[in-house]
Amino acid sequence: MKSTRLFAGLAAASLLALPACSGGSGSGSSSSTGSATDSASGASSSATSAAAGGGTLTIWADDKRAAALKPFAEQFGKDNGVTVKVQAVSKDLQAAFVTASQAGNAPDVVVGAHDWIGNMVQNGAVDPVQLADEAAFDPQAVKAVTYDGQVYGVPYAVENLALIRNTKLAPNAPKSMEDLVKTGKELKTSGKAKEIMALQAGQNGDVYHLQPLVNSAGGSLFGMTSDGMPDAKQVKVNSPETVAALKKIAALGEKGSGALKRSITAENAISTFTSGKAAYLVSGPWAITDVKKANMSYDVSAIPAFEGGKPATPFIGTQAFYVASKGKNKSLAQEFTTNFVATPELHVALYKAEPRRPALVEAADQVKGSDADIEKFKAAGEGGLPLPAIPQMSAIWEPMGKAEAAIIGGADVQKSLDAAAAAVKKSIG
């Protein structure tokens, strides 16, 4: 009997193809990555380490920073005879880093916001660093990367919210929030603008962007320990002061003047401003690139306070480099972060990639001559608290944001905040 056994043939063919293709893909990927800009990251790790004669330094960052960092990191590699790989993780970088660290596949250096420190420390994923000269850095930046009495990151940029306004629509900086709302309303009725203000309140709330207003109205989310660290155990989400503050916010909400709207979200806030639909934008230095691209006349000033209220201080955020405690090349990582990163040249270069204020005082001084916004943002952040880095704080953000969104939508303030406080206490335990 003739049986063709096609199956066997096909299966054998597919199996035969397997190693052949794998060879193909290997060469394919190495040739594709072997372009001039990226000769380092192409071949397999063993090959590169052999080629470079030294070790490999792997840096993880988000897409934007990875792109900005790449030329400098590669320069560092060339200078030191090592291979440097800058890799971008697009989503959940911190979670990916912690998981990789647990698995033993951690990069050597990770770049991220300072409020990651708490979680990275509790997972033993980062090591403290010794800054060569603490005084060279912006004190706010050093304070932000200090956690539990130790410095965990080398800061390179400081950022905070401010009020950006379209000077064509609103020539003068508003004296108060009430003043802002008044001008915004006039522009709206005269048809020059469609919204009073672009502040990304969001469908599910945005505590970070609303906090300056809450601060100004006298509210607070949490207490402080005796040594000035945020204390997640003192939940002040529904304290009488905060309730009173949120009542003021409610008056700006959808059932009030309409300055705050849930439909203004992270996706559309900046573009609402740049397209001229709103005269005011509450945002950070990252918005400036877009504002400049839109070719509009603008100015930056402090977020105005409520009349008779406290200053509308924003949270201070810091971007920093961290040394992974389970990295394969810790010495080089420390060398890179504490000695190479902490130079004004690199800070200025990173500033040029994205206009956030350099954390090194010398670098900030260098750029502020050509960029007036730097000082204006700094002034707007005067007196602001660093965004808390303790992991428990995330238990506050979610319920509070939702309560704020509900309040902006017109819900009862006391009821919303009580529910949020209950939720916070439950998850902190």
């Binding site: 063709t4 056994r5 066997a8 043939g9 299966a11 199996l15 397997l18 190693p19 004669g53 030294g54 070790g55 490999t56 330094l57 030191n80 005879g81 912690v98 979680n119 420390v121 509790q122 997972n123 033993g124 090591d127 403290p128 010794q130 539990d148 009495g149 919204e195 469908q203 599910n204 849930r262 439909s263 996706e267 559309n268 609402t272 405690s325 090349n329 010495s331 080089l332 420390q334 060398e335 890179f336 504490t338 000695n339 992991p391 428990q392 995330s394 238990a395 979610e398 939702k402 309560a403 969104a405 509900a406 309040i407 819900a411 009821k415 919303s416 529910a419 939720a423 439950k426 998850s427």
Partner: protein, 535 residues
């Protein structure tokens, strides 16, 4: 595959034919098949050898044993002639076991632990983390310029630190025994030792290959120890906290505070009950499950969430199926012009990246800026009202899903022998009759399992919520459960909301949800048994 069948010849219960015809045994095979089989199994052997080598090199004996057993099993399955199903199942099952079953089982096992952020690793790892994060620079101590050197070969020789004191510019040498002056050293203008007799100074590349040794070297001094910070600087630091085996606790040498190991919590805890943030992973028994049952929010909202979850999944499955089928039927006509173009345009939503389109839809539903309100001239607050938000989520999912059903039912209609339906005649009445009696049942045979799996997928469709409403809108009285929250999105927030990820808790919760879905699926699966035997 030990439970393989004895009815090797198939459904009709035909007696097993003499060996060699139904089987893959070596006897009675054609030369070509024999050759193919030899090549195939040769490949298996080659891959096994290729995979075994690194395992031998790293002395991973358990993995090696597993590998060899698997290879042996494959040989047995393909060399024996009697049991045919395993021959067809083995290739897929190998991957299934490796990359689906094993990760799921492992994850389920974490439901009984406190696995999560702050409790990811072992106790030893926690101790290392606590100790190394407690190293503080000695107050007012010097920062030394550092050169790393070895005695002899750069790759293997004993490491030493060649230091220069910034004030006195004196060259020093430090190793594990202590620090002493270094004779005959060349010091550069920047104050670094550039050469020393009897030592090889490492360049950065060489140093980076000795990274572990450098990190581990601490040079004892009277007040602490000198450690490298990178490869060009060193500082004097003290380890403030250390593990004491005797009391199984962490002691702070500067403040005198102690934290005792608590094996139930997986943390070092002081008298006040405060824990150090670096903990380790321990078994907590059924603790996570009792937490799920004691969750007040869950108790009050579980039924409404479950109801919406069912409604969502059913609405999406049947909505997409009904419409997909209807369109497939409408387009199932030999004389329809432009059929190919229609098909491809209808299927387009499925070709677009789903996450991207969900984000686009979310923007389209925006009350003030969204395309939908702009086109209709309305100012509907889609995501502000729980019912409208539910509708919006279903619409988005429907848009994403109906091309799939269209495609599948189109394929099904093509597979169903057309002459069966065409033979019934040309007049409409009998066409419909033939559709109902022939096409539809066959269609159900083909797609019923699909409907169940589609239900299961949508029941747990995290992305449908995560990329659109994120569970919202949230009523003011309950910021925890939103109008469009599915059980899975609620679980996700609960697990990752407070103080980092709580994988153990999330696994427990998922396991319970999984049981619910599984029971429903099994019950509906039973009903398909009848359909299966339709032929």
């Amino acid at each position: 595959m030990s439970t393989a069948t004895r009815e090797a010849t198939g459904p009709a219960g035909q007696p097993t034919r003499p060996s060699g015809k139904g089987g893959w045994g070596l006897s009675g095979s054609s030369p070509l098949a024999l050759a193919a089989k030899v090549v195939l199994l040769g490949m298996v052997a080659a891959i096994t050898v290729w995979m075994a080598m690194p395992l031998i090199a790293t002395q991973s004996w358990v993995l090696l044993a597993l590998l060899l057993l698997s290879a042996l099993a494959i040989f047995v399955v393909y060399l024996q002639p009697r049991y045919i199903p395993p021959k067809y199942l083995v290739p897929g099952v190998i991957f299934l076991l490796l990359f689906q079953v094993f990760p799921v089982l492992f994850t389920v096992s974490t439901a009984f632990t406190n696995f999560g952020d702050g409790h990811r690793g072992s106790k030893e790892e926690a101790i290392t983390a606590i100790e190394s994060s407690s190293v503080k620079r000695v107050k007012d101590s010097a920062t030394y310029s550092l050169s790393i050197a070895t005695k002899g070969d750069p790759a293997t020789g004993d490491l030493v630190f060649l230091l220069t004191d910034p004030k006195s510019k004196e060259a020093l040498i430090g190793d594990a025994t202590g620090i002493k002056p270094l004779e005959g050293a060349e010091v550069s203008s920047l104050g670094r030792v550039t050469a020393a007799e009897g030592y090889t100074i490492l360049n950065a590349g060489q140093a980076s290959t000795r990274s572990k040794d450098i990190s581990n070297l601490s040079v004892p001094t009277d007040t602490g120890a000198i450690r490298a910070q990178g490869i060009s600087r060193a500082y004097e630091g003290v380890k403030a906290r250390a593990y004491d085996k005797a009391c199984d606790c962490i002691k702070d040498t500067t403040t005198g505070a102690t934290w005792k190991a608590d094996g139930d919590r997986g943390s070092f805890v002081n008298d006040k009950g405060e824990a150090l943030s670096q903990g380790w992973r321990v078994n907590v028994g059924a603790g996570n499950f009792t937490r799920v049952f004691q969750d007040k929010t869950l108790q009050t909202h579980f039924l409404s969430m479950l109801a919406w979850n069912f409604f969502f999944a059913l609405a999406v499955v049947f909505g997409t199926f009904a419409v997909g089928l209807a369109i497939a039927l409408a387009l199932h006509h030999p004389r329809l012009k432009g059929l190919k173009i229609y098909r491809i345009l209808i299927v387009l939503p499925y070709a677009m990246p789903a996450f991207a389109m969900m984000l686009v839809w979310r923007d389209m539903f925006n009350q003030d800026f969204g395309l939908i309100n702009q086109l209709t001239g309305a100012s509907t607050n889609w995501f502000g009202n729980p019912w409208l938000a539910k509708l919006a989520v279903i619409i988005i999912q429907f848009w994403l899903g109906y091309p799939y059903m269209f495609l599948v039912t189109t394929g099904a209609l093509q597979s169903i022998p057309t002459d069966l339906t065409e033979a019934a005649g040309v007049d409409g009445a009998s066409k419909f009759f033939s559709f109902r009696t022939i096409t539809l049942p066959l269609l159900f045979v083909a797609t019923a399992p699909l409907l169940i799996s589609s239900f299961a997928f949508n029941f747990n469709n995290f992305n449908a919520i995560g990329f659109t409403t994120e569970g919202g809108p949230f009523p003011p009285e309950s910021p925890q459960v939103g109008g469009t929250d599915l059980l899975i999105s609620y679980t996700y927030r609960l697990a990752f909301g407070a103080g980092g990820a709580q994988y153990g808790f999330a696994a427990a919760m998922s396991l319970l949800i999984f049981l619910i879905v599984a029971i429903i699926s099994i019950i509906s699966f039973r009903r398909t048994a009848a359909l299966e035997e339709i032929n």
